[in-house]
Assembly symmetry: C2
């Protein structure tokens, strides 16, 4: 069952249990979905308001983008749990002969790539969302500015969670080129996320919106 | 119906809609519940492990504290929505005569106090949780350190969301003494939250746990 179909309380209980999944990765995806939801809410609270008429089309675009993003995030939460389970399965493979050791090692490295790629995808989503949060903060309904700021805080947290999950798995990845690729890409995403975050904070402060 | 009994997808949709509640406040409470859940998971992954035997009692205490905290957070989410609705009701009161204006003003200021006190309570919970996150980071299972860090990120985000909601309402509060009280208390909580957060980051970095 998809994460979106279980109750909030049940999800929190599954996180709390000693089962390692759902863990930080799935939680990060849900947090990013909440950030997308808050960003969409600010856009929805702007649509239909005379004062913001000229931004109506832009706000409608944000709503539709966030709708799509939320569905993708539920899928990421599922993929995160699958990737972890695939790694655990590979770990259980026999390692009595050299041949078995080799196969196990290859399967583990393959599963590891999944365990890195899923949170990396989450990091990209956090970046995509905060870019929209920046737009609704600047041009959206100012009565909802605390919600826009809340969305920005959650994008930053989701990004940091994603980054931690990329890095904890990168430690075991043997493909040095791929390792370097993920490190550079994550660094670049970090700059973009913090760029948007700082601009949002600055905008709110300079204009005394909060 | 309590927020813990609706599905994750439904909650995200309620947040996304143009209805202002549930907004940042309720989202912040759910995010704090996820932080409590992750902190509890790290404690649960520590209990029963030989290597961490001496911390077993402490970890059991963390589990039981987080269980209680999660229930309190669901209540805060509910109170946050109620406080907003109470304020909107007061706003709708008639204001034709001086007497009516006075009554409306009093009711609004009363509702405002609720709208400030609920996120303030959330800010305190975020502080309470991150203190436990600090303990599980230091003494808990190191295989779950990325989950401990994820919990810390969520405590910080929940605190910032709470702070934004305290401040947006403080703007309209006329009781200067009470205003000052909330400002000072929020500042103090901020120091504590960031103190724990920085120590968690430092510990992880210094020991190369991630």
């Amino acid at each position: 069952m998809g994460i979106e179909n279980i109750t909030v309380g049940e999800f929190v209980e599954q996180v709390s249990s000693k089962e390692p999944v759902p863990g930080g990765g799935a939680v990060g995806a849900v947090v990013a979905a909440l950030a997308a939801g808050l960003t969409e809410m600010v856009a929805n609270l702007t649509i239909g308001k005379k004062k913001y008429k000229e931004w109506e089309g832009e706000m409608e675009r944000v709503v539709s983008e966030m709708e799509k993003t939320k569905e993708e995030l539920y899928l990421i939460a599922k993929k995160d749990m699958d990737a972890f389970n695939a790694f655990m399965e590979a770990m259980k493979l026999p390692k009595n002969t050299e041949e078995e050791k080799k196969i196990r090692q290859e399967k583990m490295q393959g599963a590891l790539k999944g365990a890195i790629d899923v949170p990396y995808e989450l990091a990209r989503k956090a970046r995509d969302i905060i870019k929209q949060t920046e737009i609704v903060t600047e041009f959206g309904n100012k009565n909802a500015v605390s919600d826009a700021l809340s969305a920005a805080e959650l994008c930053k947290a989701a990004f940091e969670i994603a980054k931690a999950n990329v890095y904890i798995n990168l430690k075991y990845l043997k493909d040095e080129k791929l390792k370097e690729y993920y490190e550079q890409e994550t660094d670049e995403l970090e700059k973009q996320v913090y760029g948007s975050y700082n601009r949002i904070k600055e905008m709110i402060k300079e204009n005394g919106w909060l």
